[in-house]
């Protein structure tokens, strides 16, 4: 698992060149074997979830029986008696119970000690840096990493990159930014005095041709997308999603996947604020428990809805930083450094805790924070190469001045 499978990397090229004559017939046998394992010839979709506010992974995924955690977090500590053991010395918060099915099916990998190379504890700095994934330069990349990854794909569809929350930076800017749809249910043409959709589209196109601005370009692209998204907007599902905003976003994401619109990247914000300096609650109730429950129940419904398409998706979670090991004076948690990334999907080599187990003893911390031992770009880099089908050179452009090393997360 330490070297990339060249057949996977070049698969898109073969498909693109041979689509007209039937892909399987012209492929070398080795390549055919490489993707006969997949449920369909669909490309793998990357769904990136941004856990805003700073995700307290120490409450979500933690070493069991940790005297260090028990001492540092008298009121936030999840005791062994209620933790869900993962069988390897690690435990999950009880509110994450719906994720144990993913774990047992080996479709969930947990990357501990993950995070950004910078340690500023600033929401604004870290959120922005992580979305851009560009460090160590005086001129930050203006585009987000998903926007750059999208530029590396062949432009097969205007819906190749979609943002289901309108505020994400990750897929913005660049030459091929995401289509931001907000809510699918609102993504409709106007109805005014007998103006047909086609006439309105034609109007926007003519206006855009006569005076081309960034605004008119976006207007025509929007009309084009709204037309294409109609099938996804009208899609019904039998799966019962929980009544949370996060679940609604995932439901929209599932509709995008299942409508076969050529979507390759989906960018969405978790709906909820993890910045719990105060009002954190306890293991049994309160804000943190609700957030974790929303996360797990939403993902479980999403997986059920995707059914066989689960094999075509890789879900990653990122957060600007984790929380400090010691709880604060208000029984909450302050800004820290490393956190844990969740990677889920049918192609995930899961059921494992990856990354270097960071020490939690006071002497092993950096200014009270868990040290980042795995740069989050290692994880995303592997997902982009092994799942999204980007070449190593392309990923080098997505993450400038950084060389991702695969952890063996993707099968």
């Amino acid at each position: 698992m330490t070297t990339f499978d060249a057949t996977t990397v070049t698969r898109r090229g073969f498909l693109a060149g041979s689509a007209a004559v039937g892909a399987l017939l012209v492929l070398p046998s080795g390549v055919r074997a490489a993707f006969s394992a997949e449920a369909s010839a669909e490309d793998t979709i990357v769904l990136n979830i941004c856990m805003r506010g700073g995700f307290d992974s120490l409450a979500a995924v933690f070493p069991l029986s940790s005297a260090d955690l028990a001492a540092a977090r008298p009121s936030l500590y999840v005791p062994d008696s209620v933790a869900l053991p993962l069988g390897n010395g690690w435990g999950l918060h009880p509110a994450l119970a719906p994720l144990t099915a993913f774990w047992t099916a080996r479709e969930l990998a947990l990357v501990v000690g993950a995070g950004s190379p910078t340690h500023s504890r600033s929401h604004f700095d870290e959120t922005s840096l992580m979305a851009r994934a560009s460090y160590g330069s005086t001129t930050l990349a203006r585009s987000g990493w998903i926007a750059r990854a999208n530029e590396e794909l062949e432009a097969a569809s205007a819906l190749q990159s979609v943002s289901v929350s309108s505020s994400t930076l990750t897929s913005r800017n660049g030459t091929r930014p995401a289509l931001a749809v907000g809510k699918l249910s609102n993504t409709k043409f106007p109805t005014v005095s007998g103006l047909s959709n086609a006439t309105f589209e034609d109007f926007l196109r003519r206006v855009g041709t006569s005076s081309t601005t960034s605004w008119s370009n976006r207007a025509t692209a929007t009309a084009d997308a709204v037309r294409q998204l109609e099938a996804a907007r009208l899609r019904e599902t039998a799966v019962q999603y929980p009544a949370t905003e996060f679940a609604t976003r995932l439901k929209d994401a599932a509709a995008l996947v299942k409508s076969n619109l050529g979507v390759r990247f989906i960018d969405l914000d978790f709906a909820g604020d993890f910045d719990l300096h105060i009002g954190y609650g306890t293991v049994d109730n309160g804000a943190m428990r609700t957030l974790l429950s929303d996360l797990a129940t939403g993902l479980a419904a999403f997986r059920a809805d995707l059914a066989d398409r689960w094999n075509n998706i890789v879900v990653t979670t990122v957060t600007e930083f984790g929380r400090r090991v010691s709880e604060n004076a208000s029984n909450g948690s302050d800004h820290g450094w490393a956190s844990t990334m969740f990677v889920l999907g049918g192609r995930v080599n899961g059921g494992r805790v990856l990354g270097e187990t960071p020490g939690l003893h006071a002497t092993q911390l950096v200014d009270g924070d868990v040290r980042v031992t795995t740069d989050y770009r290692h994880v995303l880099g592997e997902v982009l190469t092994r799942a999204a089908g980007l070449s190593a050179e392309a990923v080098g452009r997505v993450f400038p001045r950084f060389s991702p090393q695969p952890l063996g997360i993707i099968r």
Partner: protein, 546 residues
Amino acid sequence: MGYAGGPCEYSGFSCRTLSSFSASRCRPFTFATYVDVVAVDQALHLVRRFTYGATAELVAEVRSIGALAWFERQLEPLSIADAECDAILASHPSFGWGQIRDVREVIRVREALASPTLPPESMFQYAKRNVNYVRRMTSKRQVFELMVEFWSDHFNINDSASKGGGLLNAFGLDWELSVIRAGALASFGALLKSVVYHPAMILWLDGEYSKKSEPNENFARELLELYTVTPAGGYTQLDIEQAARLFSGLRGPVTGRPLVERSTFPTMYRVSDQTFIDTRQQHFGTFRVMGWTATAAQPADVVKAIDSLVAYLSSHPSTARTVATKLARRFVGDSPGAALISDLANDYALSGGDIRQVLRRLAAHPEFLGSVGRKTKRPTEDVLSVTRALNLKPEPQRFGLIGRADNLANVNWGFDGLHSRLGHQHSRWPLPDGYPDTEDYWNDSASHVARWFAHQVLLGSSASTQAGVSNAEWSKLLPVGTKFAVADIVDALTALLYHDTLSAQTRQIIIDTVVRSQPVVTTANRDAVCRLVAFLLVSLPEWVQR
């Protein structure tokens, strides 16, 4: 359009840098300096940038008294009678709910009006937002209202956050009145001082939970990072920790539920009716922040030290640049030039942080004058400019501006509902940094779709009968004698919405599109044609230009 020399010539010598500044050679900037540089045709530019939308009446007024004279008057908002706006705000008790100063009174009214279907906190925030929308829509003090929005962003508090068991919602009403509105055109130092001591800010950035043993750093961090010097000022984590120690004891006037008065505690030192220092949680000693230092041995010294730190940060050159850059971005362009920023920062420094001086300089600056059409309306400016141009008044029930959110059958078409769909409700941005102010944030597909929807509602083409322009109103909007011809209707509504003409090509595209949908204009469909013409006019890229 030359910049004739004056006592402080724009392109000249000394105003750019403080080091070479000499008070005798270069007095603070006044309009008299450039009195003849703004031609009459700049009136429309000034009105578009410094109001929530041009109206025929306003454009005529500015052309009549002169752009700069109008602007100067706007900088003295209390000198401007505002009878229409005042009358609307006095017309329904719900507007009063959004303007209650005393937190105890908020709690009392909240309990009296409590409803099982709506969190009572929401009602006050809803009313407060509606008061703002009414003011933006109808107030004659337009520059003032824009500055209220500007500072609401700069010192953003999302008072819908359920902090303090709902107390932040209550404090948020007075915050708006006593901090943002009271200081919108004052000196930055005075504004910042009221920010630091206000219970809403103390609660929002977790000062209420700060302890001597563990000072909460949130307010101290944002004070440096967002409100004043920004990272360009070169502060360190140590500076944040020192400032956090200085603020560790600050508390609001009440706490808990039911309310407990802080004034009843002997350990609470009274700073004002609104602010106390918890002497058990207050750090004493010497504080050092970015070269500033002060020593406090007792609560009265802490107040002096905080005042002194506020004054230090307010007069810091990096703060001057922060304020200059944000004002330039708000009123001139997304990427303001270096010369503009240093000119504004220079005026900030010369005037002791007087915001009006900075605005005077900005409104007459060549970069401002040369920026016509280069700033994009954010959603609130877009929808308000529609209502203002079409003279849509907040009559009873229209736009859901009055009453309680839970009493309205469908608030989606209401003004606050539209702002919600557009992602731009007053005081609802979730983070301390305020709504973004560059086109790239707002120019996404979700935003375009939301604007189509908002325009459709405002122009009366939704199912709702309680919003937008009614059929009867369309007839009144057209000048008497307008022919039943598409081209004439297009010209009439172009004048109404743009106060200007469009290119012949764009005009033709609109006519063609209307004819495809409504080939003939008759008495039966003239209102529908008006609605369609107006919809197409506000769907043009020209419409989003401020």
